[in-house]
């Protein structure tokens, strides 16, 4: 089983993913991966091949930072994967570009379907390639209401909500 993890890590390094091992006791997951928009699907495919299951997809919002090399909209998507046969949890995080579009993984993991619809409800992130991006939890009349978006005053920058030092969560 350790082979699988090694295999997976090898893949991550080969493909140039930005992955950091983390302290499970402190954070509750073993590996943190920062994805770019193009890597989202690639990552999901590999994870499915190796028998990971998708725990959840969620969004969160930070202060949009125009200074960074690749400007983002302040929205981010978190994917969590885990395994049935051993204790291994991965958190993958991708910042959503200004177009608010991020590729859907609902054809790789069908379970992502509802999670993505829910994230669209709450944050207005558009998952391109999703077959049925209708409101799920919100009423039909509230298509354009995104309740979990925060007011400007309450937003924090990405650095203010990430672990210090060893988690360089910039968008390179």
């Amino acid at each position: 089983m350790d082979n699988i993890i090694k295999n997976f890590k090898g893949f991550l390094i080969d493909q140039g993913f930005d992955a950091v091992e983390t302290d499970y006791e402190q954070r509750g997951y073993h590996l943190e991966v920062v994805l770019t928009v193009t890597q989202v699907r690639e990552f999901a495919k590999k994870a499915y091949e190796l028998g990971f299951y998708l725990v959840f997809v969620a969004g969160f919002q930070v202060l949009a930072d125009p200074e960074t090399p690749s400007p983002h909209s302040g929205l981010a998507v978190v994917y969590q994967y885990a395994r049935h046969d051993r204790q291994y949890r991965i958190k993958a995080c991708a910042l959503v570009p200004d177009s608010l579009e991020i590729p859907s993984i609902s054809d790789i993991y069908q379970g992502a379907d509802w999670h993505e619809r829910e994230t669209r409800d709450f944050y207005g992130i558009v998952f391109s390639g999703h077959h049925n991006l209708k409101p799920l939890l919100m009423a039909d009349m509230d298509v354009d209401v995104h309740p979990l978006l925060k007011e400007e005053a309450k937003l924090k920058s990405l650095d203010a909500v990430s672990w210090p030092s060893e988690a360089p969560e910039s968008t390179e």
Partner: protein
Amino acid sequence: MGEENKGSSIAPELDAYTEFLKSESCRPLIGDAGEYGEGPLLRIKLTDIILKLCQANSLWPMTFGIACCAIEMMGTGMARFDISRYGSEVFRPSPRQSDLMIVAGTVNKKLAPVLLTLYEQMPSPKWVIAMGNCAISGGPFKVEDNYNVIEGVDKLIPVDVYVPGCPPRPEGLIEGILKVQEKITGTRHPLPQNRHPKSPLRKVKGLRVK
């Protein structure tokens, strides 16, 4: 309705009959017309009383569990609390066969039209119990940035009895049903239940002692 019919005078005989019924000689039969206000043309007091007794003692609730309170509603129907002692154990899945709606849980924007439809589908006369704080006022979900929960079902439909609690205990719901019975007939424990001896156990115990 009776008043309007009189104006049109399509049936003068009927008007005359109404006048006769309202007269002093019919008072013992019909009761105080003012007490009822508008309503059916013919009102016979005894029939009314019997009808109401029957309604009160066989309230059929609709199976409409929404959230946490619904589990306590189920619990009320089960062996320990046994709601059938008060004639309300017949939970009907269809609104058309029930006359009591127990709103047991939180109502939100999406559910509101459904609730209204269900209420309208119930045949009259019908009663509503708002069970739990959510149904009364939004309960724990009445917060500043509330974007979805409707703060109290009485904004949507008329409510007869409020049962507070989060969730109310089954005893609370039983008390609520007794209150509805009281509202229908005017007395707590309408007739058939009154007829039971106060404590049948006393006699049994007496026998044992002898």
